[in-house]
Every structure is written in structure tokens, then in C-alpha cells.
């Protein structure tokens, strides 16, 4: 289990590594059954233009015992989707750990409207289930916990999350929630997001989408904001990304009705169906919401991306294109023109420090795709990328959606049946009108399409594979999560967390791009890595006793 120290001045040669050979070597270590499974999830993107996008194994079970980056359904539901919303009391029903680990660990920043606006995010609420609750059932305790939360805090909304044992012992959290909702007269609902559901966090995203859609979206029909009204989907405001995007949208005169979910409130979710367009950042975690809202309320969605300066400009233009308003288009161009000089200056300053260097990205959701924008702006090549919890469409594009087989693990995650709302449905634009805007809606081409030839695409990469990749390709920077960070750095490779940003950020939008350029230039040029070897390791021989000059 050793990866050698990276030496400097070796990036050129590693462009020529035979990736198929590396792949074979990796697979050879596994037991046959495991190797067969992993073979489907480890692709080398073929060279040559115009080649078809190959099929990849994704959203399948992790093999027990193989060290994975993945978390659980609960993490996807409570940790990712519901975590960043400040005006709800999220009660974790279960033993204390699940609540504890999801407490303030994701850097979701939030900005309450005023000093006395609700913000429960710094709190951790749990029923702290004990022995006897497992044996005799926890419903009574849950009910009491909701009552106590209400008595102390008087929130507008309480939600409940089931953890593994809750499902097994059969606590009916939904009926408890319904009962307490009636009793207390506030919105209370639950999520059956037990950790064992699905194969990764992904199941939890879906469950969270369903819950918010059913219990919150559509509750408030007030029309707020200005002329150009959108929801931003799949932006969790890690390190202030959402603040930067909010700033840019605001300067463009675009009203953000809600963000799912970063710097967000239940109030905004309740009102979100009144927007005119959904723009989707994270294709994996939140597109459910875009699709359900379109069906029920009639607004279309587009995939956008605010990671990378060019991507940000492009995304703004796409939004303007939808609204087909000259003044908006002009204003968007104005903002882009105003922001880009500083971005270009930073890009030019840092590019010479980064050009030709190699990156690897293994993070969940869409980031392993989006961040390639920023690396490419720095002249860096992404040699390997993959997702933690993606489905095939995230890799291959939505055109494969119909061909994805639903397996046992996915079948258990409810697919809501959504109908047009008899009162609130409002078709924003007909298909013809959409087509005439000159862009494609409800589309995403996936990660593989954007990868350079002769690069790795790996789904649910294992610790073992990570080490082997580093050994073979010697990247200059590796992006993943906290569990991977110090393992990678021990090999002498600087590692950037793209979940938490290592207390950095924002990296979205224009200012975020500047931050990222500087960060990567720092990481790949820092002196500290040159001190890894001690002098006596470099020159171990001894020259008898020292003779003084």
C-alpha cells in the first residue's frame, strides 16, 4: 500500500502513460468477481474524435470491504439537501451519531435576514435513541421531542429524519409527524432516509427532493421579485458560492426566488413554484425537483454551471436567452464585461504557474465535471475524473436515461407520480417558444463528453485505485473529500477538498474563479513539498570525521 513520492519535472512524460495497462494492473489485484464489477466502472476515454461515449457502470453497490468514498442515504438527504436551510428544525430520529456527524461539518454558509431571523443550522437536534427505544419503539420519544422543540423554539417547520434502526423497528415517523402537525399547527414532515437505502447518498437526494416537493413547494403563491424570476437548483453554498452567484444574478437584474438549497429558507421553497425558470447546477442531486416542478407547475429547466469564469458567463447568457429580453441581455453582457478583466488578470498571472500540470477530480455530484472548467482555464489537464454517487446519465448524458435499468436498490426509492396542478399550473413557454430561444432545455451531456482522450473516468473510485492512479500518473493536484485528503498528501501530492474547499472559497462565479486560480497556483507551487526528504536521506553516505576548513 505504498505510493512513491512524486518527483518534480515529470509532468511531460506522464502524458504518455499507457492507461489501459494501468487499468489492467489495477484490476489484477482484485478477486475475480470484484474485478469484473470494477472493470465496468473504470473507463479509459478512447482517443480520436467523434468516438461514441462508452457505457459506464454507475449507481451500483459498492463491494463490501473495498474502501469507498461513499456515504449513505441519510447523508444525502439530511446532510446535503436539507442541511443548508436555516428556518427548519431538523430532528434526527435515531442514535446520536447520525445527528452529530452531520452537525456543522459541511460549511454550508447562511445569511439570516436579520439578527432575530430564525437560524437553526448551528444546532443539532436528535432523539438520541437508547436501548429501550430500540426494544420498545421510538415513536413516543419522537413525539415528545417534537413537542419539546416546539415549546422551546416555536419554529414554523420541523422535519424528521429516520436513521437505520428506525426503519428496522418500524417506527412510523410519518404518522407521528402528521399527528404533531395537526396538534401544533405548524408544518411537520418526515423523511424515511435510513442509511441502508440505495447504494450511496444519491438515494437520499431523491428522498429529500420528494419530501420538499410534497410538503413545502407550492404552499405560498405570492409573486415576489422582478421581471426575470428563477430558481437556482443544486447550489449548496459551500464556502459562500451561493453568495457570489446571488451577487452576480442581482447585478444582472435576475430575481432569485429560491435556491435548492443553499442560504435557503422553507419560505422560499414554498414560493419557488412561482418562478419562471429553473436553472440546475448539480445535475445529480436536484434534477428530480426541476422535473417535478415542470410537470406540476409548468416552468422549464436548463442545466447551467457557475464554476469557471467562462461557464459563468455562458450560464448567464443562457438565462438571458430564455427570457428573450434585450435589456436583460444587455445587462448580462455589461456585467460580464465588468467582471472579466479582473478574472483575466488573475488567470494570466496564475496560468504560467499551472500550465501543463495535471489534475484528478473525484467528487460527488457534478463537481468532478464542473471544476474541469477552472483547471482548463489554468491550462491544466484533468487526467482522471469520476463521481462518488452519480448515475449513468451524469457520465453519459441524459440521452441514456431511458436505457438505465432500475435495479433492486433503486426500485425501493419512491418515484413520485406528479400531475399538473389544477390551479397553479402555468405553462411558461410552449415547446415552440422554447425552441425559438435557440437553446436546448432539460438536457445534460454528462462528464465523459468533456473529458480529453486518453484520460480515466472512474465511478466510485476505491482507495486502492486512488493509490495506483497517483503512482502511475503522478498528478500535481488531486481533488476529493476529507477522507482522501491526507492519504493523498502522504504521497507528496497536494490535495484539494472539493466538498468543503478546505475552508476556502467561494469558487463559483467570477470572484470564485479568481480565488481558485490563486489557490491552485499556491498548491502546485508551494515550497513546502520540496522539503519532504531529509538531507541524510538524500545523501546518506558518511564522509568520515569532518575536517574543518
Amino acid at each position: 500500500m505504498e505510493a512513491p513520492v512524486t518527483d518534480t519535472n515529470r509532468t511531460e512524460s506522464t502524458h504518455d502513460v499507457d492507461l489501459d495497462k494501468v487499468r489492467s494492473e489495477i484490476l489484477s489485484k482484485y478477486p475475480t468477481k470484484v474485478a469484473r464489477k470494477r472493470a465496468k466502472q473504470i473507463l479509459v476515454k478512447p482517443g480520436g474524435a467523434g468516438t461514441d461515449i462508452p457505457e459506464i457502470g454507475a449507481n451500483v453497490r459498492t463491494v463490501p470491504g473495498i474502501l469507498t468514498q461513499r456515504g449513505c442515504c441519510y447523508a444525502g438527504c439530511k446532510g446535503v439537501i436539507l442541511g443548508p436551510t436555516r428556518d427548519v428544525i431538523n430532528i434526527v430520529h435515531g442514535p446520536i451519531g447520525c445527528g452529530f456527524y452531520a452537525w456543522l461539518t459541511r460549511r454550508n454558509q447562511t445569511r439570516p435576514a436579520s439578527d432575530d431571523s430564525p437560524n437553526y443550522m448551528p444546532y443539532c437536534f436528535s432523539t438520541d435513541m437508547q436501548d429501550e427505544n430500540i426494544v420498545f419503539g421510538g415513536e413516543k420519544k419522537l413525539k415528545q421531542a417534537i413537542q419539546e422543540a416546539y415549546d422551546i423554539f416555536h419554529p414554523q417547520t420541523i422535519s424528521v429524519f429516520s436513521t437505520c434502526p428506525v426503519g428496522l423497528i418500524g417506527d412510523d415517523i410519518h404518522s407521528v409527524c402528521r399527528e404533531m402537525k395537526e396538534t401544533l399547527g405548524i408544518n411537520i414532515f418526515g423523511f424515511s432516509c435510513e442509511g441502508y437505502k440505495g447504494v450511496s447518498q444519491s438515494a437520499g437526494h431523491h428522498i429529500a427532493n420528494n419530501g420538499i416537493f410534497q410538503h413545502v413547494v407550492g404552499l405560498d403563491d405570492t409573486i415576489r421579485g422582478g421581471e426575470f424570476r428563477i430558481n437556482l437548483l443544486g447550489e449548496y453554498n459551500i464556502g459562500g458560492d451561493a453568495f457570489e452567484i446571488e451577487r452576480i444574478l442581482d447585478e444582472c437584474g435576475i430575481s432569485l426566488i429560491s435556491t435548492f438549497s443553499g442560504n435557503s429558507t422553507m419560505e422560499q421553497f414554498a414560493n419557488s413554484h412561482t418562478a419562471d425558470l429553473n436553472v440546475v447546477m448539480c445535475h445529480r442531486s436536484i434534477t428530480y425537483m426541476a422535473e417535478m416542478m415542470e410537470k406540476k407547475y409548468g416552468m422549464p429547466w436548463i442545466k447551467i454551471n457557475f464554476i469557471g469564469a467562462r461557464a459563468t458567463a455562458q450560464s448567464l447568457r443562457k438565462i438571458a436567452q430564455y427570457f428573450e429580453d434585450d435589456s436583460l441581455t444587455a445587462r448580462v453582457e455589461e456585467v460580464i464585461a465588468r467582471e472579466m478583466p479582473a478574472v483575466n488578470e488573475a488567470m494570466e498571472a496564475n496560468r504560467p504557474l499551472c500550465e501543463g500540470k495535471l489534475a484528478m477530480l473525484f467528487v460527488g455530484g457534478s463537481r468532478a465535471h464542473h471544476y474541469q472548467e477552472l483547471f482548463s482555464e489554468l491550462g491544466m489537464k484533468t487526467m482522471a475524473a469520476g463521481y462518488e454517487f452519480a448515475h449513468r446519465d451524469d457520465y453519459e448524458g441524459r440521452q441514456v436515461l431511458s436505457s438505465i435499468k432500475v435495479d433492486a436498490d433503486s426500485r425501493n426509492i419512491e418515484e413520485l407520480s406528479v400531475e399538473q396542478d389544477p390551479d397553479k399550473y402555468r405553462l411558461r413557454k410552449t415547446e415552440e417558444e422554447l425552441t425559438s430561444t435557440g437553446q436546448i432545455y432539460r438536457e445534460y451531456d454528462g462528464l465523459i463528453a468533456d473529458m480529453k482522450p486518453n484520460t480515466f473516468v472512474i465511478d466510485d473510485i476505491s482507495q486502492y485505485e486512488t493509490e495506483k492512479l497517483i503512482e502511475a500518473i503522478k498528478p500535481d493536484v488531486f481533488c476529493a473529500g476529507i477522507k482522501e485528503k491526507y492519504i493523498i498528501q502522504k504521497s507528496g501530492v497536494p490535495m484539494k477538498q472539493l466538498h468543503s474547499y478546505d475552508y476556502g472559497g467561494p469558487y463559483a462565479g467570477f470572484k470564485g474563479a479568481i480565488n481558485f486560480y490563486r489557490e491552485i497556483a499556491r498548491m502546485t507551487n508551494s515550497k513546502v513539498w520540496s522539503y519532504v526528504k531529509a538531507p541524510w536521506e538524500k545523501e546518506p553516505e558518511l564522509t568520515a570525521t569532518y575536517a574543518a576548513a
Binding site: 505510493a3 463491494v63 447523508a75 452537525w103 437536534f125 436528535s126 422551546i152 437505520c164 491526507y486 502522504k490
Partner: protein, 458 residues
């Protein structure tokens, strides 16, 4: 205010825990397993547990933390996790090649009722465990006790998995250092070594969770207690268990099963507790305390007497793990400081009586709670303000809201470094703690001084 919704008025809660001062068993078991050389911890449950535990340990130690998981699916939850675990054992030994797999359970596998003894036996029987390799295990249901309990259970799992009695007593002492930092484990060992006592210290995460940057990643670094050492624990002269919550279970197991006599002591944090550790070891092993340790002790007493005016009567709120709090409370009382609010999330009535006993001469009423939470601690502080807060990183929210000097201590510390490199046990550790406490108090003094009372010499 960050914790803007915390009211001063305290109401009784029976069901809702808010801002816990504990987490669950498995992470403690994982930490203990990492203190065995060549060991891969294995979490028998759904993969989120393992991910969360690895993340939290990684953030605290800023070091690689590896562990495998049975990756339960809905199917395994219904039909039991045996097949997942057998498959995992096979894969781990094949791909990662550890010497040992150390399995702990989760609320999930415990609720299902998976029988580890039986599954592990089957793994051996089926030839999934290569010759010379080992699988050990401990039940660690998340809904009982806390992370400290999990640590304790795994310590027992370690000795029950390895300890043997040859009948020939070895001139060595077993020391179970408790749920402390790698630096603390090294210091506990150094003190014993300085006294000329040979020890088997387990678990021992020093060198594992505070390892060097060498440019090569070693999944199983040099540190950790070896199998050979662990086997010999049944032949030792005796066992010192440091911290009754974390360490007494394993020590008593060795006593009961192999007649290795044990003594359970508080963690050697602070002067008196370190004295007790040293003196017990002296008597147990029949050695003389070397001048070097008496010298270190004297240095600590020296700073205590010199700096006493800054400490005397200062009120302190503490939260964390029971063994840590018991030792810290004793140290603070020794320093003439006044611990007034003391909360652990770990259940256990003996905690409250022990602390009550240590603070019986307190000039003010003392609030003590086991199985409490930080919400309650915060409310107590609002009602009776303190001069200092000590606890893990989560305390920073209270410290900022209430503007209290804050010393980070305990698990987890997610926003500073140092804890894994510099011990707080032993006399040197006492000096470090004292320096931290004094710096916190004096920094505050400097900050709050008017210009006329801002001074050079303190």
C-alpha cells in the same frame, strides 16, 4: 448570535437532545482499532457510518484514517449482514493485506441481531482468514453509551481476541491509556519507560494518527501495538487502566480471565492524577521514581505556584468525555480554579458522584450532568457566567456568543492543530494545559484592559 435561539430559562427535556456532548460507539471502536499495528478497522453496517467516522477522525487528526465497511443495502438489512461481512473479509485481506481486521458493529447490524462471534467463526472456517492473520471484533451498538463506550468495548475486543496466558509471568505492565490523543499515549509510555518499567500499552495510536510526512503513503504505518505484545498481555504482572469509562472493561477482563491484577485510575491529567499514575506504577512494578520525573513534576508545581494568582477562583465550564472531565476537574480544583458547569454526553451515574466528590469544597454550587448536552451547558452559562470554557471545537459557538475565553480540549478538535503532537497527560502535559489556560485568560485580560491598565509585565 450564532446560537440565537438558546433561551436563558431552562426547561425540562426528556426526549430531545440538542447539541450533544458525545457521539456514538463505533467511532470509538474505530479509533481503538487504529492503535493496533497492521489493523484494518471494519464497520459492520451501512457505509455512511464508516464514512462519517473516518471523516470525523480525519478532521481531528489531519491524518489518513482508513476503515472498511460492510456496505449494507436494504437487502442485507432485511436478511442479515453475514454475506456482506464474509465478502468484506475476503476483499480486505486480498486487496489491502492487513494483519488484522477489527470488526465493530453499528446500530443497524445490532438491531438486525447479527452474531459477530458466529460470523467471524464462519470466516475462519471458510478459509477467508489467511494463515497468520486475525479477525477480532466487538459489539458497539450506537444506541448504548457513547463513543467512549465503543472505545472501551473495542479495548475488550482486542484483549479477548489476542490475550493468552502461557503460565510464565512477564516482567511487564499492561497499560490501557484510555481515549486520549496519540501524543498522550506516547507520553504515558514515556513516563513508564523513564521509570524503567516495561509496558504493553494498548491501543497505541502514536505514530499512526500523528505520523510523519515522508512522501510515501503507508496504509499501515509503524505505530500501534503488535499482535505479539497483545498476546503477551495475559502474562503481564498487572494492568493499569487509565480512565474507568474507557479502560476498565478490558482491564477487568484480563483480571477475571487471566488473573492479571488490575488497577483503574483516572487519566493522568494534571499534577495529582499524574502523581497517582506514577506512584501506582512505582508500587506495582517495585521501582524507584527517577529524579528526572521528580524534576518534571517540580517544574509543573513551580508554574502552579508562580501563576496561582491568575487561576485562583476563576470559574470554568467544561464539557467532553467523562474520563477527561474527571481528570480535568481534579486538576482545576488543584489549581484553585472553580469548575462550575460540567457536562458529559456519556451516560453513567458514577460520573456525577465522582465530580460531586471532587468539587465538594467548591465555593459555589456546581452543575453536573452525565448524559447531558451542550444546550444545557450553554443555558447554565447564561445563568451563571464563567471565566473560561474548555471542551472540543463545538464549544467555539458558545465561546463566541458569550465572549468567553476558550481552551480546546477533547474530541473532536477540528479547527486547530497541536493536540495530536503535544500531550496533556503527565507533568509536561500539565504544563501545556496550564500554558493554554493562562494564555487564554491573559489574552483576554490584555484585550479587555483599558489603555491605562494595559501592561508590559504580567
Amino acid at each position: 448570535m450564532l446560537l440565537r435561539h438558546t433561551p436563558t430559562e431552562i426547561t425540562d427535556r426528556k426526549a430531545l437532545m440538542i447539541n450533544p456532548a458525545k457521539t456514538c460507539q463505533p467511532i470509538g471502536a474505530m479509533y481503538a482499532s487504529l492503535g493496533i499495528h497492521g489493523c484494518m478497522p471494519h464497520s459492520h453496517g451501512s457505509q455512511g457510518c464508516c464514512a462519517y467516522h473516518r471523516s470525523t477522525l480525519t478532521r481531528h487528526y489531519k491524518e489518513p484514517v482508513v476503515a472498511a465497511t460492510s456496505s449494507f443495502t436494504e437487502g442485507s438489512s432485511v436478511f442479515g449482514g453475514q454475506s456482506n461481512m464474509l465478502q468484506a473479509i475476503d476483499n480486505i485481506f486480498t486487496v489491502y493485506e492487513p494483519d488484522i481486521i477489527s470488526v465493530h458493529t453499528t446500530c443497524l447490524s445490532e438491531t438486525i441481531g447479527d452474531d459477530l462471534t458466529q460470523i467471524v467463526k464462519k470466516a475462519y472456517d471458510d478459509g477467508k482468514v489467511p494463515e497468520g492473520k486475525h479477525v477480532i471484533y466487538a459489539p458497539t451498538p450506537s444506541y448504548v453509551g457513547s463513543h467512549v463506550t465503543g472505545f472501551s468495548n473495542m479495548c475488550k475486543g482486542i484483549v479477548s481476541g489476542f490475550a493468552e496466558k502461557t503460565g510464565e509471568q512477564k516482567n511487564q505492565m499492561n497499560i490501557i491509556p484510555g481515549f486520549v490523543e496519540p501524543s498522550d499515549m506516547a507520553e504515558v509510555k514515556r513516563l513508564a519507560t523513564e521509570m524503567g518499567v516495561k509496558t504493553v500499552l494498548f491501543p497505541d495510536t502514536s505514530g499512526v494518527l500523528n505520523g510523519p510526512q515522508t512522501g510515501r503513503y503507508h496504509m499501515f504505518p509503524k505505530g500501534g501495538t503488535t499482535v505479539e505484545e497483545l498476546k503477551s498481555t495475559g502474562d503481564s504482572m498487572g494492568t493499569l487502566a487509565l480512565g474507568s469509562f474507557a479502560s476498565s472493561l478490558a482491564a477487568k477482563f484480563l483480571d477475571t480471565k487471566f488473573k492479571v491484577p488490575c488497577r483503574v485510575l483516572p487519566l493522568p491529567i494534571g499534577l495529582v492524577a499524574t502523581d497517582r499514575y506514577i506512584d501506582t506504577l512505582r508500587k506495582f512494578a517495585g521501582v524507584t521514581v527517577p529524579d528526572s520525573l521528580t524534576f518534571e513534576r517540580g517544574q509543573l508545581v513551580d508554574v502552579m505556584t508562580d501563576m496561582q494568582q491568575y487561576l485562583y477562583g476563576k470559574k470554568v465550564a467544561l464539557f467532553g468525555d467523562p474520563d477527561q472531565l474527571i481528570a480535568l476537574t481534579e486538576f482545576l480544583v488543584t489549581l484553585d480554579m472553580v469548575p462550575v458547569h460540567i457536562v458529559t454526553g456519556t451516560p453513567g451515574k458514577e460520573f456525577e458522584s465522582t465530580i460531586a466528590d471532587l468539587t465538594r469544597d467548591s465555593p459555589v454550587p456546581v452543575n453536573i450532568k452525565s448524559h447531558g448536552d451542550m444546550f444545557q451547558l450553554h443555558q447554565w452559562i447564561k445563568n451563571e457566567p464563567v471565566d473560561l470554557l474548555m471542551g472540543n471545537t463545538y464549544g467555539k459557538y458558545i465561546a463566541r456568543d458569550e465572549d468567553i475565553p476558550f481552551v480546546r480540549h477533547g474530541f473532536p478538535i477540528l479547527d486547530r492543530v497541536g493536540h495530536s503532537y503535544f500531550p496533556t497527560v503527565g507533568y509536561r502535559g500539565g504544563l501545556r494545559l496550564l500554558e493554554q489556560i493562562l494564555s487564554a485568560l491573559l489574552d483576554r485580560k490584555d484585550r479587555d484592559s483599558s489603555e491605562e491598565s494595559f501592561e508590559l509585565v504580567m
